[in-house]
């Protein structure tokens, strides 16, 4: 039973990280129908910047929980800047191009960012400073759920609630929903669509960076390549939940995280990634609209 709970817990943790990344995919897809392939790279850059900030601060003699907050804040700011610049360089000039063009551009950007970090930093895995303290009150259930896992679950829950509030109740959220429904119409009623798209990329990148910081301190090491797999899996999660659908992305991510965790625990961990892709393929074949998505009829 404990083993099952432990797997469930690690599955939930995995799922909430996927959710943070998947939300970025799904929001961007909802607005401009683009698979932002480089989204995983933004997550990786977020994790790297947190590592650099906290590493430098630790080496210069600071310590404590405050470092984590500072590192996370800087990582989030930088990830937002990267997301914004990415959209401006690689996607905006291709807004009216054939569908394949921005996708290839996105793949190019993903390769570029990966190798940029590889060359500017290091090809090796770097240990991530352990920033999340061990809480005393977690002692009794530490064998099932550690402190860092609790922090991840709580942080992602708060983030997702904040996102929901932002989209439901703020002006920019309203503009985003309008743009998602009909870009031309939104423009006609005075929504600055370019700003909304930039904002979507920024919000998505912020979420991804939060995920990156959490994953760094949870797994304890990162390298330039972590964004690729995480990106593909988060995309799987987004498709699973119905791409373009925000609650769907969160649900899909949790389902995928749990499923992966059980598969790794009870079947074989070597085939973990195969399993995730298998889920993706099955979903696309059996129910391409996803769990919560509506099937969209293509109009001529």
């Amino acid at each position: 039973m404990d083993y099952f709970l432990e797997l469930s817990c690690s599955g939930l943790v995995r799922g909430s990280i996927y959710a943070l990344i998947a939300l970025g995919y799904t929001m961007v897809y909802g607005i401009i129908q683009l698979i932002n392939f480089a989204h995983g790279e933004v997550y990786m850059i977020g994790a790297f910047i947190a590592l650099i900030v906290s590493g430098v601060l630790t080496i210069y003699g600071f310590s404590g929980f405050a470092i984590l907050i500072l590192a996370a804040v800087i990582a989030v700011i930088y990830a937002a800047a990267y997301g914004y610049t990415l959209e401006k360089i690689a996607y905006r000039p291709l807004r009216n191009a054939p569908r394949l063009s921005p996708l290839i551009s996105a793949i190019g950007m993903s390769l570029f960012l990966q190798n940029y970090v590889l060359l500017a930093q290091t090809p090796d895995f770097l240990p991530f400073p352990a920033l999340i303290p061990d809480f005393d009150f977690m002692e009794p259930i530490a064998h099932i759920m550690g402190s860092s896992e609790l922090v991840i679950l709580v942080t992602s829950a708060i983030t997702m609630v904040a996102l929901t509030v932002l989209i439901k109740y703020t002006r920019i959220g309203k503009a985003m929903r309008a743009t998602q429904q009909d870009m031309t119409m939104a423009r006609l009623v005075g929504v600055n669509v370019d700003n909304v798209i930039s904002m979507t990329f920024i919000i998505g990148s912020v979420l991804a960076a939060i995920g990156g910081v959490l994953v760094g301190s949870y797994i304890g090491q990162i390298n330039f390549y972590i964004g690729f797999m995480a990106g593909v899996k988060a995309f799987t999660a987004a498709v699973l939940g119905g791409i373009g659908n925000i609650p769907g992305a969160a649900l899909g991510a949790l389902v995928l995280g749990l499923a992966e965790s059980y598969a790794a625990g009870y079947v074989s961990s070597a085939y973990e990634d195969v399993f995730a892709f298998g889920v993706l393929v099955l979903i696309l074949i059996l129910r391409p609209a996803g769990l919560l998505g509506k099937a969209v009829k293509q109009k001529v």
Binding site: Q33, L34, I35, F48, I49, I52, V53, G55, V56, T58, I59, Y60, Y78, A81, Y82, T85, I89, A90, P93, L94, A97, P98, R99, L100, S101, P102, L103, I104, S105, I107, G108, M109, S110, L111, F112, L113, Q114, N115, Y116, V117, L119, A120, Q121, T122, L126, P127, V232, F235, V239, A270, Y271, D273, V274, F277, L280, V281, L284, I285, P288, V300
Partner: protein, 408 residues
């Protein structure tokens, strides 16, 4: 001018900010050392400044071009050097003759090392041409193309190590296995929209590698299969030099064969169906094209070529392991197609030679290889989506069909 200067300065500042933590600070959390590389900041600033001027200039040109295209004016000189050269038989024929001569004497002039690299480049030429069918002609973005390459290579490896079957029998089997896998994998996913297809093929590519790595009994896992014989010639014993030269000529034949087939395909009924499907799926289906069969054909044919050269690749290396079949190889082949121009045969050949040979000969470059490929993909899509040498489309001009290869 001053406005331009100011904007570029701001861009430079922005990029200095953006790249500061990654380019300037280098922290080693293992040894607890921080390295500050302030010089990089200067390079980033200078680079970003000039690139942004270049970027804006290119953007303006791009807009002028699209405006001209919209108003229907076609600049007669806007055909590009490559296209004009290709269209003129006076230029085309001697160039072809010289090229043919050069390819024939190449292995006699250079040493075995160069020949071996050339063989690899030619393998990628065929891979590029194969993927060109799937991506360029049919418009199906395949990000797991290397999986079919692996199928070919491992077909030969396994057939040889288990049953001692030789190269010449494995060659067609490898190709057919590639096509078979193409059909088997393609069948369930071909009705998906383009971008979903891309992700699923990416998944297949990764699955193939993971399965090869973990299935010890058949694929020998991460150790790979060693001692694969080079191509034989009626059972003759050949030195390594002779075998390499022989493989080279074999690859030349292979390239010629591929060019011939793809060129014929392009103008065939199915080729035209591919292009129509790429341009507008709904209209194409409404015209009575069987979408599933046409797409599957493109997918299988692309995979067939990958399987075929996979066998040759295994024979060239005499050793294969899963690391030759990563996403990077798929990305490399894709950037060959993108750089060369989707659908353009000459463009793909040139791009393959450039992208494979350049990092081999300019060693300093090889580190920045993938970085460059990424940048190439983005820049090509923005500034020259038709590729270096654009595919020349047939035009119907009242009564007679004008083609680029009417005299070729």
């Amino acid at each position: 001018m001053a406005e331009n200067f100011k904007r570029s300065l701001l861009v430079a500042l922005w990029f200095v900010f953006l790249t500061f933590p990654l380019m300037v600070v280098k922290v080693n959390t293992l040894k607890n050392i921080v390295e500050w590389r302030w010089m990089n900041m200067l390079w980033v600033a200078i680079g970003a400044f000039f690139l942004s001027i270049l970027w804006r200039w290119a953007m303006e040109r791009q807009q002028l071009k699209s405006k001209a295209a919209e108003s229907g004016e076609e600049d007669p000189n806007n055909f590009g050097l490559g296209k004009r050269l290709l269209e003129d038989p006076k230029v085309f024929k001697p160039v072809l003759a010289v090229l043919a001569m050069a390819t024939l004497v190449f292995p006699m002039v250079v040493d075995i090392y160069q020949t071996n690299i050339m063989v690899l480049a030619l393998i990628f030429v065929v891979l590029g041409l194969g993927l060109n069918i799937t991506v360029g002609l049919a418009g199906l973005l395949d990000l797991g193309y290397v999986a079919f390459f692996a199928v070919g290579a491992y077909t030969y490896g396994i057939l040889n190590s288990f049953w001692g079957i030789g190269f010449w029998i494995s060659l067609p089997i490898g190709g057919l296995m590639g096509a078979l896998f193409g059909i088997a994998l393609g069948f369930p996913i071909l009705r998906l929209r383009g971008d979903y297809l891309a992700i699923v093929t990416l998944g297949f590519g990764s699955i193939a590698k993971i399965v090869i790595e973990n299935w010890e009994e058949v694929f020998n896992g991460a150790k790979g299969i060693a001692g694969i014989p080079r191509p034989g010639f009626f059972g003759m014993d050949m030195s390594i030099e002779a075998a390499t030269t022989y493989t080279y000529y074999l690859m030349i034949l292979m390239v010629v064969f591929t060019i011939f087939i793809t060129n014929r395909l392009k103008d065939s009924r199915i080729g035209r169906a591919w292009m129509a499907l790429r341009e507008d799926e709904i209209a194409c289906v409404a015209m009575g094209v069987d979408m599933a069969r046409t797409k599957l054909g493109a997918y299988a044919l692309g995979a067939f070529w990958a399987g075929l050269v996979g066998v040759i690749f295994a024979a060239r290396n005499t050793y294969i392991n899963p690391n030759s079949f990563t996403f990077m190889e798929s990305a490399l082949v894709l950037s060959i197609v993108v750089l060369g121009g989707m659908g353009s045969i000459v463009g793909v050949i040139i791009a393959a030679l450039v992208l494979i040979l350049m990092p081999e000969y300019l060693r300093a470059f090889s580190e920045y290889r993938m970085l460059m490929f990424g940048a190439v993909m983005v820049l090509m899509m923005i500034f020259r989506p038709e590729g270096l040498i654009a595919n020349v489309r047939r035009k119907y001009t009242g009564g007679k069909v004008v083609t680029e290869d009417a005299n070729a």
